[in-house]
Symmetry: C2
Subunit: 145 residues, 2 copies
DNA sequence: CAAATGTAGGTGCGTGCGCACACACATTCC
DNA sequence: GGAATGTGTGTGCGCACGCACCTACATTTG
C-alpha cells in the first residue's frame, strides 16, 4: 500500500530553497530587514499586548529558541523592541514591540506580502492555495503534542 | 485587490522548519547520511549514466552550487562518488556514483521515504498531496527562465 | 524549610552554508 | 590568430544557526 509519492515534499523543499533567499533579499533591499527580524516582529505584532516571552517566541516563530535571544538583542539595539521584566516570574523576560518596531513592521509588511503574492500565490489558484494551507496546517497540527 | 492570504506560504515555512531536522536526524541515525548527502546521491542516482557535472548538480539539487563542490569532496572521500574528467570540456568535472554509492542510496531511500510518509504525506489525503505537488510545481516552473 | 527537580534565558563553540573572488578553459568577435 | 567575453569549478572568508551547557529562579517533594 501507500507507496508514498514524495513529490509534494520534494517540491516543498525546492520552493523553500528557491524563494526564501529572494524574499529575504527583497525585504533587505527595501527595508534593511532580514527575514528573521521580520518573523519575530510579526509574531510580536500579533501577540496580545504586542509582547511575548522569549520562550513563547521560540515556540511560535520559525527561528530556534536559542537564536531568539540574539535576534531580540539585535532588535533591541535597533530600537525595535525592548526587554521587559516579568513580575510573575523573574527568570522570564518579555520582548515587547516599541512604537518604532510597530512602524517598521507596518512599513515592511506590504513588501513581504507583495513578494509572496508575486512569487508564490499568484502561481496557483485560490482553491489550490487554500488546499496547500490546510494540508500543511494538518501536518503542523500533528506535531503539537 | 487580491489581498493575498499568506497562510499557505507561512505554513510552508513552518513545515519546512519542523520537518527538515527530523528527517535529517532520522537519516543520520539510521544510515549516517546527512540530508545534503542524500540529496546529491538522489540526483546522481536518477541522472543518465549516474553522473552529472557539478554545475548541473548545483542547478538540480537543493544545495547551492558552491556547496556542491565540498559535498562532492566529502562524498568522494567516503567512496560514494568519484570525480571524472569531461573530455568535451576540460573545465568541467563529473561527479559519478560508485557502486558503493548506489548501494548506500538504495539502502537509505526506504528510511527517507518512510519518514516523509510518516511525518508528512500521511497527514493529508492523496488528493491534497497531489494538489500540493502540482501547485508547488507551478511555482517552481515559473522560476526557470 | 531544605533538597531535589523542573523551567526560562544566555552564551561559547563548532559547523554548515553562501558570497565574492580567483583561476582555467571555452567561445566569440574582430 | 589574438583579444575580449563568457562559463565551469574551487576556495578564503564571514555569518547565521543550533547544540550543549550554565546560571538563576520557580516549583515540588519530603
Amino acid at each position: 500500500m501507500t507507496d508514498t509519492d514524495p513529490a509534494a515534499w520534494a517540491a516543498l523543499m525546492r520552493v523553500h530553497a528557491a524563494l526564501v533567499p529572494v524574499l529575504d533579499q527583497e525585504l533587505q533591499a527595501a527595508h534593511n530587514l532580514p527575514l528573521t527580524w521580520y518573523d519575530v516582529l510579526l509574531e510580536l505584532y500579533h501577540a496580545p499586548g504586542r509582547r511575548l516571552t522569549l520562550g513563547e517566541l521560540g515556540r511560535v516563530a520559525v527561528v530556534s529558541r536559542s537564536r531568539v535571544s540574539r535576534v531580540v538583542d539585535e532588535l533591541a539595539r535597533a530600537g525595535l523592541v525592548t526587554r521587559e521584566a516579568n513580575p510573575q516570574d523573574r527568570r522570564s523576560a518579555y520582548a515587547a514591540l516599541t512604537e518604532a518596531g510597530k512602524r517598521r513592521f507596518r512599513t515592511a509588511a506590504p513588501t513581504y506580502l507583495r513578494g509572496i503574492e508575486k512569487h508564490f500565490t499568484s502561481r496557483m489558484t485560490a482553491r489550490e492555495a487554500a488546499t496547500v494551507a490546510s494540508a500543511l496546517g494538518k501536518v503542523l497540527a500533528a506535531r503539537e503534542p
